[in-house]
């Protein structure tokens, strides 16, 4: 269960880029305006019910990923409050936290630790991970020798194996071949049946319509529509048509 109340997030876009202490001192002495404000999210309120698949859609730059990063506790909102009930596994990009110098096997445990999952539990899930990813033969190969597709398969199945209460997915299924995408979709539906809440972010309206029950349409950081997926999709298509 996730409840967001009036969430706003501002990014400061430096008028002149300052990355060093030296530059900071100079511009402090010179004074004047240091950055432009950009509100990536404005007063966003929503709720995701336990056990549902919730879609967030909108054009590029509408704040979808920013919102997902706030839910995942990677960035902090400037205003508002978010209540998250359950352990989250974010998949904002596949293979994050993987280290190319380690073997596939070592990376599975590393990822588990990054997600706060005990090693013992990852050991139980170990066979499943490699079976699903169809990579059993390569378990002792270093990740740097993996193809990007193999990497994505391993990452997805490892993430699923951490058994989160809430799974955050950001356009990740654009990788891998059709066969694997279909398999991922089936797996997402399966874990959802077992009680995992899923937040799915995509600019692909078809993907959202196929997968989600409820959805939210964001544009320029504001909620345009929220509710049953069909209504939201219609609002989206109408706004695109204008």
């Amino acid at each position: 269960m996730i409840i967001g109340k009036n969430i706003s997030k501002m990014f400061r876009i430096p008028s002149e880029r300052r990355n060093t202490l030296f530059e900071a001192v100079i511009s402090f002495v010179k004074g004047g305006r240091r950055y432009d404000e950009f509100w990536a999210l404005k007063n966003v309120s929503f709720d995701v019910k336990e056990g549902e698949i919730f879609g967030i859609t909108g054009p590029n730059g509408s704040g979808k990923t920013t919102l997902l990063e706030i839910i995942a506790d990677i960035i902090n909102p400037d205003e508002g409050e978010l209540i998250v009930n359950g352990r989250i596994t974010p998949i904002l990009a596949l293979g994050v936290g993987f280290n190319l110098e380690l073997t596939a096997r070592e990376n599975v445990f590393l990822y588990g630790a990054l997600m706060g999952v005990k090693r013992v539990k990852m050991e139980d899930k170990y066979e499943e991970v490699f079976e699903f990813a169809e990579l059993k033969r390569f378990e002792n190969m270093k990740l740097k020798n993996f193809s990007s597709g193999m990497n994505a398969r391993l990452a997805f199945s490892t993430a699923i194996a951490t058994e989160p209460n809430i799974l955050l997915l950001d356009e990740v299924l654009a990788v891998g071949d059709i066969e694997f995408q279909r398999k991922c979709m089936a797996e997402i539906n399966r874990v959802n049946k077992n009680g995992t809440t899923i937040v799915f972010v995509s600019h692909s309206i078809e993907a959202v319509r196929d997968l989600c029950e409820r959805a939210m349409f964001l544009d320029n950081g504001e909620v345009i529509a929220i509710g049953a997926v069909d209504e939201v999709v219609n609002t989206y298509l109408n706004s695109m048509a204008e």
């Binding site: 706030i70 909102p77 989250i88 280290n99 110098e101 380690l102 990054l114």
Partner: protein, 275 residues
Amino acid sequence: MTNEYELIIKPKKGLFSIDIHEMLEYKELLFFLALRQIQIRYKQTVMGASWAMLQPFFTMIVFTLIFGGLAKMPSEGIPYPLFSYSGLLLWTYFANSVGQSGNSMVGNASFISKIYFPRLFIPSSVCLAGLVDYGIAMIILVLMMVYYMFVPNMSIIILPLVVFVTFILASGMGYWLSAICVKYRDIQFILPFFISLLMFTTPVIYPPSMVGEQYQWLLTLNPMTGLIDAHRACLLGHQPVDFATLAVSIAISALIFVTGIIYLKNTEKYFADLI
């Protein structure tokens, strides 16, 4: 569904937002990150573990030639190579830990911007992994002690304390520096220079008694003074451990560690925005 994982995310304010429960939840991660660094370091290098010995060993040779041979540096009545190596051993651990942990946050930018986990563990794991190098480099010291026939006395029992405090101090400095580095990237370039200067203001290769009486207090305020001194005294047993100076070191190390945690915890919410 349990309430065990309830998380409330809002604009963070307040000085003490340290979540002990979360730390325990993720405790395996600290060892995992440290293990990962050790694996990567030793897998990729031809020389492997011997690198850990070579750095302090060759530094010792150079200093022995310059200071022991040419400048006739006093060394508390013990052979100069043994004197300088027993200092350099701990100093190398400290300097490498501070240098690497200072850069660690920026170096791990790719996953800081993608997943959440206690950021504190990034610099901590660097300092933890460094202990392996310290252990390996210790072999040389043991060999040198055999060669010069030095037998440690009872004070050796405080060695774990000295190493632990050095770990605390290096971690504390790592918290401060890694968090500052995220905001000001030029710190990365100043850091190695600063650390090498720091070595000459610490009695690593010279005895503290060489410094004039009126500056002794300044030397004591450097937390590495008491640690290097106690490290040498407890290993070689050539003089009693100076507990007063060691106590000052412990107090300052603890202060840097605690303030470092508070500073990092209060700035980490911006990391993903800046990195």
